[in-house]
Symmetry: C2
Subunit: 239 residues, 2 copies
């Protein structure tokens, strides 16, 4: 099944305390846009079981799929796999093939308790294998549990990307050297006329002068081009 | 009243489509940490009334306060003020003093419909004035409605910051050149012993070698220093 809309749940105190600037949601946003899957919501919660489980259950019910980021390492603050198991009402168990892979990778002697912890998956989950880490993510139901470390997250995301998509979204931006209030009413009319094109206006400044962007995006290229012509004609008329 | 915990709601398709990398939540996270107010949750939703209203009502009920970012300009995709009014069940009305300030700023002739739109506030809200924009944010109940443009957001955030805070959080980081699995169990014991200190472990690599950080934060400096000594002793013992 290919997911057409998705939510993302970021788990980690380090984001909420401002220690770390979140990066994985931005990657998901860009890759889902290109793949034609709509990212509908992003939520960031701290490393607290009750909060993680509540967010997991809300988001997996509301959207086709949910991608999580963070909390799957070996330390005490890595509680995501247990929370996912609890959300699905299944036990968290050592996954035999994963344990075997880890044993080969580390050698039996270095497969300590911390590493064994990373071989646990919710019962019924399949491991998400990537080349950046021997510890897997997990896919259970419509939930994909990925690492927080950005290069491991990116590698795991690449592994699951075939599950997501529709017609790719296309985007076109038009620079506008006018204050938004000058074109707001007419732009609203264009938005009304093109229901399949999402039109956003993002103000900016070049020194004292306004220079913003009108951003059009759509899965329908013909509609996008028509809306683009309408916006360009509007801006020309007002400039 | 000083808020001790807060959520943030980011409103904007441009974040979810990957056009723009979100920046305001990261600023809030850092400033709240320094102010001693806990940022408990970040949510990003698209420019859709029903979704915005649902998120507003959930988050303002769950936390002391809610800060929103985005959707308060003059264009059709700027619907936050209307959604806030709807969430509170009050009308959205032109705010007399704000309109008067705008009239002085723009002159009567240039106060067009788009600009007048930005003079509307939910009934009962007070305007949030800042030096970066004549169009105000809004404060109603425990909700603070700010702009999405980062420099305006930052300026409005500075204006409301006195409403937030407790004992400032302190942070100390310790570099660790060991794999997490080596110290995970002992670090969990230290976390157990220091309930008022939040201990996180964030792995990293320097070339092929592990070099992560153990991050301690607390509002209690004495506890932070004790936990720090315990972690440093642990790492020294294992290195």
């Amino acid at each position: 099944m290919t997911h057409r809309n998705v939510a993302m749940l970021v788990i980690g105190n380090e984001i909420l305390s401002g220690r770390t600037r979140e990066a994985n949601a931005y990657l998901v946003a860009r890759q889902m846009f290109a793949a034609g899957c709509r990212l509908e919501e992003i939520v960031v919660v701290p490393d607290e079981c009750a909060r993680i489980i509540a967010a997991l259950n809300r988001l997996r019910a509301d959207y086709d799929a949910l991608i999580t980021s963070g909390g799957i390492g070996p330390t005490h603050d890595d509680i995501t796999m247990q929370c996912v198991a609890d959300a699905f009402g299944v036990p968290l168990l050592e996954h035999r093939q994963t344990l075997e892979l880890m044993r080969q990778y580390y050698g039996a002697q270095q497969l300590n308790a911390g590493r064994r912890r990373m071989a646990r998956l919710p019962r019924g989950a399949r491991p998400i294998i990537c080349e950046k880490s021997i510890a897997p993510g997990a896919h259970i139901g419509n939930v994909y549990v990925l690492a927080g470390v950005p290069d491991i997250f990116a590698s795991q995301l690449a592994a699951i990307l075939p599950d997501f998509g529709g017609r790719p979204f296309l985007r076109h931006e038009i620079e506008v050297r006018l204050p938004e209030s000058r074109f707001a009413a007419a732009l609203a009319d264009i938005q009304q006329a093109f229901a399949d094109v999402e039109i956003g206006s993002y103000p900016g400044r070049c020194g004292p002068e306004p220079c913003g962007k009108i951003c059009l995006s759509s899965q329908d290229d013909a509609a996008l081009q028509q809306a683009r012509q309408a916006v360009e004609a509007l801006i020309q008329r007002l400039s």
